[in-house]
Amino acid sequence: MRGLRTTALAVLAAALLGAVLLAATGANPLVAFESIVVGAFGPDGLPDTLAYAVPVAGMATALAIPLRAGLVNLGGEGQLVLGAISAVAVGLQVPGVLGIVAALLAGVLAGALYAAFAAVCETALGVPLLVSTLLLSYPAVSLAAYLVRFPMRDPGSSLPQSEQLPPDVHLPALADTGLTAGLFLVLAAVVVYAVVDARTPAGFEARVTGWGPRFAQYAGIDRPRLTVRLLACSGGLAGLVGAVVVLGFPYRFIDGALITPQYTWIGLLAALLAAASPLGTLLAALFFAALTSGGFALERATQVPRELTAVLQAVLIIFLAAATGLLRGRKGAA
């Protein structure tokens, strides 16, 4: 209850500050807020929100998985991109419906292996995970950029993008919404994570490790093994998200298309804000997605400078982080 109130208060405070900013630039704050809400949840906006929420929630969950054990995966971007490019590479080779499955699997596998490699860098080579995941991310992104410019480039265009996947390797679309069946794949991943986290010994051991590495070691949890497995799960899900994105419109890998929307960083934000709790992570991801598509709607409707939208979003996140901090702090002090 108190959590709800504090959060609501934070949103309200941010909105107030936003209103002042908007008014200062001559826009009508009420119109602006209405367009944000309608843009995020209205009949036209909701599909946009969900379309953005799918990769964000997927990445948020992917990054939450190791975070539960106190392990931070900063390499989500590389895993996402490798998953996507692998999915396209396989999808272009394997024809028919089998291609969908093969492409998705390839995405999962690529992401999982790459993340597991980062984990091995820590467990076997002594490079801290934070560093190994982050550093490995860049070459992966560069590799994909190279592939779509040279060996895998779309011969029909001069753009850094792959060929389009054949129609039978497209994920089934959901009506006219711009959404694909990828929505269900990501949802399923979230549910599996929630169940594993709360109800299985493996999830329990991950949480134990998050509580304290020395306690985990004492309890017989093999930390290197756990690290590798959790990172593999994390990277696998990130790879799946990449695959899901490229198996949807425009059905190809475009260089930068997975980086500029900041799926990974917004996802990490959501996971951290929710302390990696499965449901909280999902909710935070949805919230950020709504904020983003609402922001675009605001710009379209009112031509408010986009800088202002970015400022509004940042202010809201700052207030929210402070509010959750207060909540956690209070719980800690109790």
């Binding site: 560093v131 860049y138 590799l143 990490l268 970015a310 979003q313 982080a321 402070a322």
Partner: protein
């Protein structure tokens, strides 16, 4: 393969990264994982240019950059310390805010979109170090940088001495290592963390000043272009030790400069983009492998 001028330009280019990385190291030692370096640096860039333009002197700009960085880092300080928000979440938001805010300010303050530059904008002049500038190769590499470049070099030993030998530095490290123990000895944990974050803000401001008034003389939206993130990597690589951070930044700067050179020899740009990271990772492997060998014998 690399001439002196190139080394010199690499040194100048890594200065913003070095300043920001020192800032990050300071916070790290106080127990705050500061990833708002990028945004704070950007605010420093803007304030530096605005200060220099309206103050009429580049030093007004440098001062404005440091002050603006300090003031801006209050957001992170209040959020993480007073409100106990998550430092990473707040850091990301602070970065986001900086991009929006500075782009917005360019429009309102300078009345142009995106970029402000003017031939009359005063930038940092290169300093000729007497004596050193005559030394053949070294002189060309080490002399002729802006005052902030030399300040950043000076900042490394200063920070090392501060952390290792100044009472405040000792207390700061304790605060980072075990806050409740520090508190039980009467050391005001929150105040030290505020101090670290604000000082880091000033350093990031200087990083911005060097970038916008030293490396180039202009402001352009989002011109930090990921340097703050490289600084975060350098903090992690250098284990938040001043000299470690310096080594990481130099390694990075040289790998990048070498990458540019290799691009000229026909390596694809994507490979040279990745080069600094790969080089760093390999260096880490070698380093940690050597340590493991040493430990096992």
């Amino acid at each position: 393969m690399m001439d002196a001028a190139l080394f010199a330009s690499a040194l100048g280019a890594l200065t913003p990264i070095l300043f920001a990385a020192l800032a990050g190291a300071l916070c790290q030692r106080a127990g705050v994982f500061n990833i708002s370096l990028e945004g704070t640096m950007l605010v420093g860039c803007f304030a530096g240019v605005a200060g220099s333009w309206y103050g009429g002197s580049v030093w007004v700009g440098v001062l404005a950059a440091a002050l603006a960085g300090t003031a801006y880092s209050l957001v992170l300080a209040v959020g993480t310390i007073t409100f106990r928000g998550d430092a990473v979440v707040l850091g990301v938001a602070v970065n986001l805010l900086a991009v929006g805010l500075t782009s917005f300010l360019v429009q309102t303050v300078f009345g142009t979109r995106g970029t402000f530059s003017d031939p009359a904008l005063a930038g940092l002049d290169p300093l000729t170090v007497p004596g050193l500038s005559e030394v053949p190769f070294l002189g060309e590499v080490l002399s002729g940088h802006s005052a902030l470049v030399y300040l950043s070099w000076l900042a490394v030993p200063v920070l090392a001495v501060f952390l290792g030998r100044h009472p405040w530095g000792l207390r700061l490290r304790g605060v980072g290592e075990r806050p409740e123990a520090a508190a039980s000895l009467g050391v005001p944990v929150d105040r030290y963390r505020y101090g670290a974050i604000l000082a880091a803000g000033a350093l990031c401001g200087l990083a911005g000043a060097q970038l916008a008034l030293g490396n180039v003389t202009l402001f352009s939206e989002n011109m930090t272009a990921g340097r703050g993130w490289i600084a975060v990597v350098a903090v992690l690589l250098g284990r938040a030790l001043p000299y470690g951070v310096l080594a990481a930044a130099v390694l990075f700067g040289l790998a990048e400069a070498a990458g540019f050179r290799l691009q000229g020899l026909g390596l694809p740009q994507q490979a040279t983009d990745a080069a600094p990271y790969v080089v760093t990772l390999v260096a880490l492997f070698v380093f940690s492998a050597r340590r493991t060998v040493k430990r096992s014998t």
